[in-house]
């Protein structure tokens, strides 16, 4: 077998796996959106674009779209700000730095379900340790999930806690590639730390910032597990995003076609958003 044949062989295997595990299910999901189906049992009925029309006319869809955008934006902003801050601290020399660096990644390593269940028990209104601590301090109880705003804030808080370490790790790696000579030259010129951050550090981090924001945006916009385990999209749909709405239609409301239509629209919206993002922040410029 020649080297070329070997390359084609590997390419074929990769392509076949991608087709079988990603493209085929995605095409199947899109095809389901054109049918009316109660369940996966029984004959589906072709309804054309009726599912799309119904979904786009439903206020729940637009609410879920807005919720998804708020959740993604809120999570990304805090993750990036905190991630850069922690990375700057961890990039400095101090005793036990390696240990702290290791510990800082810990929340990212914990399984989502463990984090969520722990958080829910910590803030339980009757027996939660946080509730008891707040009570002991003489403060009024915190209603973590009792209003739409509080539920969204709690969901963002948990997401920030879980994924800031990932952002920190990315930025920390990027910071270590910034030549020290740039900082030394800037110090000689009499710049302040803030000036060095905005004129050296941030521009040098821009390529990684672009990628991190993109990845986080995609992951947060499609986030299912955290929201489902924390609030199931409640109260009154206040934290329901498109991923949850799609799941509920397909597996709770006996509307697999509607669920597939929501997932397809979500995919299309995200694709357009990614294209616009790369148009506004082209990686080639860096």
């Amino acid at each position: 077998m020649s080297s070329k044949a070997t390359i084609y062989g590997f390419l074929f295997v990769g392509l076949a796996v991608t087709l079988a595990l990603i493209v085929a299910p995605a095409v199947y999901a899109v095809s389901l959106s054109f049918y009316q189906m109660d369940s996966f049992v029984g004959a589906p009925k072709w309804v054309g674009f009726a599912n799309y029309v119904a979904v786009l006319q439903a206020p729940e869809f637009w609410r879920a779209l807005l919720n998804g955008a708020i959740y993604a934006l809120g999570s990304i902003v805090f993750q990036v700000i905190l991630g850069i801050g922690f990375a700057l601290v961890l990039n400095e020399a101090f005793p036990g730095r390696n240990l702290v660096r290791g510990l800082s990644i810990l929340p990212y390593l914990l399984p989502t379900v463990v984090v969520i269940l722990t958080f829910k028990w910590m803030v339980d209104g009757g027996i939660g340790i946080v509730t008891k601590a707040v009570e002991a301090m003489g403060l009024p109880p915190i209603n973590w999930f009792e209003s739409p705003g509080a539920a969204m804030a709690s969901t963002i808080l948990v997401s920030v806690w879980m994924w800031t370490p990932f952002v920190t790790t990315c930025f920390l790696a990027a910071l270590q590639t910034v030549p020290q000579s740039l900082y030394e030259a800037a110090r000689v010129d009499g710049t302040t730390a803030v000036q060095r951050f905005f004129h050296i550090t941030l521009p040098m981090l821009k390529p990684i910032l672009t990628v991190v924001v993109l990845l986080r945006a995609i992951w947060m916009f499609n986030k299912f597990d955290v929201i489902w385990l924390l609030t199931r999209g409640g109260p009154v749909g206040a934290t329901e995003n498109l991923a949850i709405l799609s799941y509920r239609h397909a597996f709770n409301l006996f509307d697999i076609g509607g669920g597939a239509a929501i997932a397809t629209i979500s995919f299309a919206l995200l694709s357009v958003a990614v294209l616009i993002y790369f148009w506004v922040f082209p990686l080639e410029d860096d």
Partner: protein, 444 residues
Amino acid sequence: MTNDKTMTKPGGVSRRTLIKSAGALGTALAAGTLGAPAVWGQGKKTIRFLNTETSIDSIRALKVACAEYEKQFGTQVIVDSVPLDDAFTKVTTSLRGGQPYDIATFAFVGHVLLLQAEGQLMPLTELTSKHKWGPKILFPVKDEVYWYPYDYNLAWIYYRKDLYEKHGLSAPKSYAEMLKNSQTLTGDGRFGSLFPIGSNGATNWLAPGFMWAEGVKLFDDKWNVALDNAEMAPRVTRYLDFFAELYKTMPSGASQASFGEVLSNFSSDKVGHAAYAGRIIEALERNAPKLSTQYGITPYMDSTGKAKAVNHGYDGWVVLKTPNSDESMKFMAWFTENQYINFLHTAPLHFQPPRLDVYDDPRWRAHPLIEKHKDAVETMRGFITDKSIILTSIDTEGPAPDLRPGKVFEGFVIPEMLQNKILKNMSSAECIKTAADKMRKLIA
């Protein structure tokens, strides 16, 4: 470009050999996996049982029963256990995938009806007709029964008898009394009650009981939404207004509370009232033995003190139409005659028998917890034999078993109605209209 030969170390393995070996190994494994079912098919019979009772005791009892069956009849029964929420998806995808489960557990009549309508279920009338059953449990379709129920999970109200005695209270018979008792028990690090209001199954199960006692019907006899009609709207209004007041006696977090939170708050002495089935007594025995003699149980009550209700809940097994249907039917006949009580004993107070003969069966009554809590057991029995007690639930509402109330159940219409009232401070009239509109949309 690197030549293949340059990659071979003297005496080592070349890349080409490695790739070929890996390919051969993969092919052999794939062939082995694909061929396996054919090999199994030639051997002893195997049936697959999807179980949703995930406690260790229940799984162990099933496995012991299946081993016994295999020993006696030579048929292997493989038990897969999954959380209840996953059961329907698992069954339908297994059907779609060509390797269906032969027996499955369901806790939602809508799923049974849906599979029956698609011709996927075996009628079990032959088995169920051997016994007398409690009310609203067999859900027949055209005189045929398509599942074998193994429990009622009725939801009723628990209260603390010791605290009631301390404060001179008596079991509540009306909304006003329930509210007063709950307010009285609020304090000393304890909340008056906990009834979930979140968009989850716990709320669907534990919160509407007061509404049923008030005489609310979700549908009329022709499946029109009745929630907002002239007769029902005032009743729902009374229910919502009462619940909003009761909410003030609950700990924060009721909007996220699920089964676990209700169990733990009551058994850890944090709330004076909660709703559940028999599981709470089992939890008290396990985690708070001192409280296991300090609880009282009572049905949900209406605003006038005249009507009582319990919220329906149930579980059962279905036999699917598969190439193994005959063998599955044989197993089900054997299991329900010989192992039924053993299985019920794995949650002795939570699995309330739907078969009326079981209540007088000395084997069932011999369980220590059933013996110890015989007064509660008699009260539980009364919930299904006393015709004055309303027995209904969101998913079993309406003139006949149907998927429509199931959609209302899964659409979390009633939980959202409560949330609109309590968390968003909407007027009761507006809450009812929003809920009724959503119901109409869901069942359209």
